[in-house]
Symmetry: C2
Subunit: 338 residues, 2 copies
Amino acid sequence: MGAVTPLAKENKPTGSVKPIVDLTRADMERVNQLILSKAGSDVQMIPEVANHLISSGGKRLRPMLTLATAAMFGYRGEHHVRLATSVEFMHTATLLHDDVVDESDLRRGKSSARMIWGNQASVLVGDFLLGQAFRMMVETGSMQALKVLSDAAAVIAEGEVFQLAVSKKMETTEDDYIAVIRGKTAELFAAAAEVGPIIAGAADADRVALRDYGMALGLAFQLVDDVLDYGGSSADLGKNVGDDFREGKVTMPVILAYQRGNEIERAFWRNAIEDGVNDDAALEKARMLIEKHDALGDSIARALAYGEAARAALSPLPMSPARHALEEVVDFCIARIS
Amino acid sequence: MGAVTPLAKENKPTGSVKPIVDLTRADMERVNQLILSKAGSDVQMIPEVANHLISSGGKRLRPMLTLATAAMFGYRGEHHVRLATSVEFMHTATLLHDDVVDESDLRRGKSSARMIWGNQASVLVGDFLLGQAFRMMVETGSMQALKVLSDAAAVIAEGEVFQLAVSKKMETTEDDYIAVIRGKTAELFAAAAEVGPIIAGAADADRVALRDYGMALGLAFQLVDDVLDYGGSSADLGKNVGDDFREGKVTMPVILAYQRGNEIERAFWRNAIEDGVNDDAALEKARMLIEKHDALGDSIARALAYGEAARAALSPLPMSPARHALEEVVDFCIARIS
């Protein structure tokens, strides 16, 4: 396997993400080159900060979705590479801003950019990458793609503000939480999968199907992440088990355990999440309560249901290597918790 | 005068900004309504934060430039209102992020949003407004306007990062500084004045002339701001005299005084700007040194030269109420220091 694909570098079984990696290999090489080029600037701090995060080994699943969904309709131009890079820049900008918002010290197992260059650089380089993303979209000349991605930019930010508004609030409902992750995570998956068919000139029905696929995949992906934070190992995540807990994040397992808990347990959760009593002993107790109420199992069940919805969204599309690769991505996401 | 135009509310002589206020009054009413509508969200924190800044009495000079430059070519549609609102949202997003970057406590004489809602909300609501700005641009269907404004978004952020990279560095040259303010301030003035002729379908030469006008006006505007920080009163600025000094900002008067200073004076500047020895006594001494080397006078001379360049850029355009209003805006900006 080549050296350009971050996944291939990890030198471990890539599971069922292999079909999409293989399918998009040549295009991803061009995406990676465009990423480096468009993160460049005479202002030296910009490539320093940007490349710190860009080179830190994210899977680049989102740009692969754009490339694969364009390939599905036989697209032969250059614009899908620009759109895929725009999607990755939007994601990177979000991560830079998230680290400031969450006051995170780590990102993908490395010091976060804000710890090295400060909050200021993280905010402003994020803004720069967002500006570059929109420039690349404009270069494609596709007003439809611009509409989808500008909608996504606003919806993602709205989801992040909603998350901030409900953060450390144990009264957050399951519906609130799904609304948060629909915005902050799933919307970009949906947009990434929608701009592929758009640039390829696919029919509206196909475009809607792939948007639905991306949305459901994104919801499954985030719920799996939530579950791993209470049950995975830090190597899988690039962060440590219990990070969400220590940051006071109200995620699906916490919501379910809280709803099903007695008054004493609820007081524990409020102490932990709202008042920050979240040491190792508290984390141990949280895991025990989540286990007691099968909150992890039921979070997994929800992830599986969204995974099924993602697969179902693909069913009207003719079978093709791209469709197969997209189905395997769903399995790969789910497999992280099985 | 009506209540909708922030300038009119101030109940003091509006000087020569009156022609552009009068010219754009009806359209600005629609801009103000669109601002309120597009800053709305089911996520309550968004309009709270956005309206705090939006209602704080900025002059809205940038959207007026878009409206006036569209009016100059007899534009009769709706899209100039959307573009003007986009420009104002880009500006507001920049202010929200700037306050986080500068760790500012005050903005336009009120507590900054980050002091009330935290850095997190300022970053994310800024992102939301930027997303909304791009959505409105897309609604106009003008790929040319999208190009100008997405270029501006990247260039503004690049200028801000450059400012961060040279911040508190007394070795900043005059050229560095002009590059910083060209990006962080003048680019948006240029873009605001360019999208007016674009949406009105004006000739390329007119578009270039108005872009040049906006760029020169923006440079003059920023230099005047720099001068006022060492010589104005806080009522003029919505901030306090000496704010730039206390934040360690290297602005034109400081650069000129430093370049012209002897070794003892240079040591004073390094202490003040780089090491933060910037109490009231230091500010007094800084003003004295700026006076001694005529650094304020020469900063004003540069502002006047850019003002002349802005007027000259308009000279190929036929005389019209809009051109007259744009000329008066130049005089208004300069008049703040005369």
